[in-house]
């Protein structure tokens, strides 16, 4: 490179290309995103946070919680699962031999090993997973053939992955989950567990408050710092607890006559944590939803 101008030009083109591809591209593709439809439902996702939960997001940001916690679930795959739900008049042993007889059908031949292994040692406990894999034709074929003999099965789509197996979520996080977050606090280190669906795992606000005040009172050997500055120690009025005083085990409780009361910031942060639920199926992250009667 002989001149300053050529160096400038090279750098300009290089950075311009990546600006165009990684900033402008995603902005065009995702920047105007609106709420999306939840699969098999008339609901929309995400739900705008209200009240304390919105303020709690700012408390989360201000205290750098994203330094140790992530809010994104990973998924390594998806699977079609078919399971027995009702055997009708049949016995487990009959069904095993019936299914073995089905394995000669060309479409099912490839899976005979897998299914036989699944059914080995099964003596009728329900529900029982018959097949779990990527092929949905197998699932629908098995379902039809078993329905014809009066056996009820349930076919589901499930997400697979270590995060999901740990119960941290039912599907991976996608861009739609963060639509109403300002700022987006994804986190990059799991010194503590993932929080994307903590509102589903620990929906009790009092649990969250106690955990913030004294993490080791609820999770032994936790390395989470105690956030005592989000709480106030005050004298009990007339010897009685205030309505929102924390109920603490002996080792963490204050001396007689004193109680721990959460400040508004603590309540906001707890409300935010309880609002973190990313368990609805979307088109880009599908799974069969579990119906809960209203």
């Amino acid at each position: 490179m002989k001149t300053g101008f050529s160096v400038f030009w090279a750098a300009f083109v290089a950075l311009g290309a990546s600006w165009f591809g990684l900033i402008y591209g995603p902005l065009k593709q995702l920047g105007g995103a609106k709420e999306t439809a939840v699969l098999q439902s008339t609901e929309k996702w995400p739900v705008q946070r209200t009240g304390d939960a919105t303020l709690g997001l700012q408390i989360y940001r201000a205290n750098g919680c994203a330094a140790c916690h992530t809010e994104q679930i990973r998924q390594t795959g998806a699977a079609h699962v078919i399971a027995f739900t009702d055997l009708g008049v049949h016995q487990a042993a009959d069904l095993k031999s019936f299914i073995a007889s089905l394995m000669v059908v060309p479409e099912l031949m490839n899976y005979s090993n897998v299914i036989t292994v699944n059914l080995a040692g099964w003596s009728g406990e329900m529900p029982k997973v018959l097949y779990r894999g990527a092929d949905d034709a197998v699932v629908s074929m098995l379902g039809d053939k078993l329905k014809a003999v009066g056996v009820k099965t349930e076919a589901r789509v499930v997400a697979t992955g270590a995060d999901i197996a740990r119960g941290w979520g039912t599907r991976q996080s996608v861009a739609a989950d963060y639509l109403y977050d300002t700022p987006v606090l994804l986190g990059s280190l799991r010194a503590g567990p993932d929080l994307a669906s903590i509102g589903v795992r620990s929906p009790d606000i009092n649990w969250q408050l106690q955990h913030l005040y004294a993490p080791r009172s609820l999770v032994k050997n936790s390395t989470m710092p105690a956030f005592r500055f989000l709480f106030k120690a005050q004298k009990k009025v007339d010897g009685k607890d205030a309505a929102d005083a924390l109920v603490l085990p002996i080792e963490f409780a204050l001396t007689d006559g004193m109680e721990v009361v959460p400040t508004p910031e603590a309540k906001q942060l707890a409300a935010y944590l309880v609002s973190l639920k990313a368990n609805v199926p979307l088109y880009e992250a599908p799974f069969t939803p579990i119906t809960v009667a209203k």
Partner: protein, 201 residues
């Protein structure tokens, strides 16, 4: 400090110099190979810049194949969609009914009855004349809102109202709706409360 001229070789300014030659061929070959391999990787993993394709899904076809199709949930969702579009205007999204317009479906003995036969006649033929719901008397006209709907939709919406708002009753299948429709015939007259009571459950 001022020993620049001693420390650096052939340059009287004391500043470093660079030998002139070109880059070795092998590194250019390596770069081109990596470019090609990477191109294959992009082809297989990028979902070709689709907005909805998130890893681990690799293509729109694969994502489509994993969309859940069957299951109780889809029937509920379908039932809810039908309800909100057809019945909810009068009976309310919360099934509480509207005074002077339609009776409540929540905790209604017609909805939660063990047998669905009487209930199934209502959307397929309509109701006209006096009818008691939860101890209250109603005397309005309901058109056969479900007559034009397919069996699956009627079954879905009946299942939906029988399992929502605290109601706990068994689902209704499309086949069962089909049987009731066959019984009623082509252009039925709306039933009155007494006529419905006379039917088997």
């Amino acid at each position: 400090m001022s020993d620049e001229k001693k420390s650096c070789c052939s340059n009287e300014t004391g500043e470093p110099t660079v030998t002139r030659s070109s880059a070795p061929m092998w590194i250019i070959v390596v770069t081109l190979t990596l470019l090609f391999t990477g191109g294959l990787f992009i082809d297989s993993h990028s979902g070709w810049f689709g907005k909805n394709i998130y890893a681990p899904y690799k293509s729109p076809e694969q994502l489509e194949s994993f969309q859940p199709r069957s299951g109780a949930a889809s029937a509920m969702a379908r039932g809810k969609a039908v309800y909100e579009g057809v019945c909810g205007i009068c009976h309310g999204s919360d099934g509480a009914g509207k005074p002077g317009q339609a009776p409540a479906l929540a905790a209604s003995e017609w909805v939660t009855a063990k047998g669905f036969n009487r209930l199934a006649h209502i959307p397929l033929a309509g109701v006209s004349g006096p009818i008691q719901v939860n101890g209250k008397g109603w005397n309005l006209n309901m058109a056969a809102m479900g007559a034009a709907l397919p069996d699956e939709d009627v079954a879905a919406v009946l299942t939906y109202i029988r399992t929502s708002w605290g109601n706990k009753a068994e689902a209704v299948t499309a086949d069962e709706v089909k049987k009731v429709r066959a019984e009623i015939g082509k252009s039925p007259q709306p039933y009155s409360g007494a006529q419905l009571q006379a039917m088997p459950e």
